[in-house]
Amino acid sequence: MKNLNAATKLEKVLTAGEFALTVEIGPPRGPNPEPVRQKAALLAGLADAYNVTDNQTAVVRMSSIAGAKILLDQGLEPVMQMTCRDRNRIAMQSDLLGASALGLRNVLAISGDHQSASAGGKLNGHPGAKSVFDIDSIQLLSVIKGLRDQAVQAGGDSITEPAPFFIGAAWTPLGPPVEFRVTRLAKKIAAGADFIQTQAVYDMDAFGRQLALAHDQGLTEKAFILPGIIVPRSAGMLNYMNRSVPGVVVPQELIDRMKQASDPQAEGIKITLELIEAVRALPGAAGVHLQAIEAEELLPEIIEAAGLRPRPEV
């Protein structure tokens, strides 16, 4: 086994060559830790690590640091997400040191949805917020790597001791311009990403081709890639994602299957299981990042049926 960066469970599972499983827990729009604890209780033991989102779609929620710490206290291993939208390099590094002090070790760097996304549906959001974007997600990866490997800040000053992190990044393999997406992945890995979670993939052929390109460039040797899968709930949802969620391509065949299904929920689970199987067969896929949006209660059954239980002891 190679030298571990932060010796998190996620890192150990991946390094041991086990097929890893991560899921997501979004913090609540309020100060009460109970909803996080409840989700933690529901999902405990099911996954190797749990992503805690950072004000996703720019909607104000409990901070990802606090959410991650609550999970940690419940015995779950969090992946703290960090976007570049709301904090400059000073605040981000300070929060990284604080997160490290709290025992948070997995961190995922992303650009973040623009604040204009926060206004929608019933929410006013904060579209008038001043966006920061001092550094981008790739630069954030190199900043985290600097704190970890050289104990040095972005500006060059040292910190008292290295901050151990297992560093993650997101990847949208099928977003336009598609011809650049593998290069962008390579940049993220060069900047410091140890593991990658992807945007939801439904088109396994197209994704397989992008992953093969990455594989040929040796990228799957340098970082662990976890394709994202979102459990389909209805034909309408798949249609919506196909049309409106950037980088998500849903084959018509899957939409039709959901449309024709007499029990869409069962069909959605069936499709999910097939997708997980397909991912396992892809060379270079190190695990899966599984989401059931607003239907976390489906996850135990799916994970069981996919043969992903129990999780490896590492």
């Binding site: 939208r85 204009s116 966006s131 550094i135 190199s142 977003g175 011809e179 650049f180 900047a191 049309r243």
Partner: protein, 222 residues
Amino acid sequence: MITAEWKPIEELVSSLAGYRNVLLVGCATCVAECAAGGEREVQTLAPLLTMALAKQGQEINIRTATLERQCEPEFYDDIAEAAAEVEAIMSLACGIGMQLMAEQFDPLPMLPGVNTTSLAIREEPGLWTTRCAACGDCVLGETFGLCPVSRCAKSLLNGPCGGTRENGKCEVDPDTDCIWRLIVERATARGRLDALATVRQPKDWSHSQHGGPMRMVREDLR
């Protein structure tokens, strides 16, 4: 050019409350190009505001003038006489011109008539789009002449975010191109995609407004 657009008519009307003699001054340079503050806009706003105030029972005399450039003191002689006879000046110049106006006739109140919005180009008739954010550390040499600082909604320097729409537009606006898609296309067309593969380190924003107001000195010209 520097682009600006009218403040809402309602805001302009209320800023004129109580005045009986006002000078409305346009600028024949950038704001004329972007149809916010040239002679035509002066001649549009003057009757419109007069009517709006009359509707509210306020009689006002709005005189008009358009300077060649409101950001250069040498053009101000033309309106000195008129300025002496009014209670306030409403300026349709960009924020730069408006400040010089406020200074030239201090303590006469200067009422801003426009919001200054961008450094932009007229892409087609009736459409202006941003080209620069005066970041003070130009990266155009590495991005094939397309500015990601001002034209990417997240000022990303290392390639497109995951939000690029299927048709190549930006996640933030369905009518605006994802600038990184255009950069990648131009690099591809020139067979230079490799040039975008290097990780660009964090930018030094201190040369822009983030470093505080700019004070540019050239000793040889002082």
